[in-house]
Amino acid sequence: MKQPSARGDVSALVLATIAATVESAQDGLARLGAVTRAAVAGTPDILHDDDLQLALFCLYELHYSGIDGAGDDWEWNPDLLRVRQCIEAAFEARVRDEVDLGDLPGTTSEAVCAELFRLTGDDSGPSMSRFVSKSASNDQLREFLVHKAVYQLKEADPHTFAIPRLTGRSKAALVEIQADEYGNGLPARMHSALFARTMRELGMDDTYGAYLDVTPAITLASNNLMSLFGLNRRLRGAIVGHLAAYEMTSSQPNRLYSRGFKRHGYGENATEYFDEHVEADAVHEQIAGRDMAGGLVEEDPRLLPDVLFGAAAGLAVDTLMTRHIMDAWESGGSSLRRSEAMAS
């Protein structure tokens, strides 16, 4: 990914640090620690904090495809990991505040699956899919793709980090889902590749990170949440619950998204990504709820609260993201950081 533009002191120092060699960055690292602690203590709301979410996103990116100019030895640098953990701790605490789990269900696979379906069916936030289906303008479709691109161009990757942390039934289920996400051996059928094709069909740049500078904090937070869950083994229940919630809230919205793109005259090259998800996720949601999440809880009942937390957290943060986008659109504006970047 190309280096994004900094959004404040923390992200500027993170970007400057990883652009330097480990040997030459010691002074910057010491300052970064202090600046990060101050920013975390002073932020009004870390979920909407552009500087901290971008800094966290860049620190996580070192574990994915990397950042241009950043040496690979930064990935496991202890000082940088400490900075990441400082932001992560505040981020996780904020998300836990946002979520109320209520009474826990039983620890059988069926009880877990039923509770996940109840939780995801209850989601009462604003509906982006109905708006996209009926009302979104062409520019709004492009904005919609900008928000989605951060995850969809690396679709499935954060949850893949969980594979070696699971065993037996839950592992087999996760791999079965991921194999589908990754195209069952056909690169052109990878969901990330189908999404890239949709972007190209709308005349957009499908390079990973191409629109990062216009992507707002809450969209980065939605992605950072998956990385937080995926990269910390202690949160393996949460990443499993998160994936289950994503699968369970996908089929019908994707049918509506497809309709919105068809309404503007776009053909199969643009809509196949969405159409594929209608059928795929109707399968995945059953496997995810019963075998992956339910199977994990049956194997280790202590993970039940984490599984439900992961699901509820994903829904809660994405509801905030949807609200941000819909509020901007309803007031006639753009949901992106600088709308002129989309005009090209």
Binding site: E110, F117, G168, E176, Q252, V278, E279, A282, E285
Partner: protein, 90 residues
Amino acid sequence: MSAEAVPGPDGPSGAEGPERSLNSGAASPVSVVACPDGPLLIRGDFELVGADGQELPRTRRTVALCRCGASVLKPYCDGSHKLTGFRSEP
């Protein structure tokens, strides 16, 4: 690594029943999960054919078949059962 649940190179043992007729891959038993208030989830080596015996278009190994009647992708499930409030138990 556990190999207990994995069929050997010659397919499932005779104790699991007669060998099935398969169109591809190594033999693995077919399972149908009747998902509560949802579709029938079918895993394993099976053929999905229309009334004329011709194979139906299929892009994945494991499929979910509609049993609420509301899917627009029949015979596959599209999640519509959640909108119609389909109940599998009487």
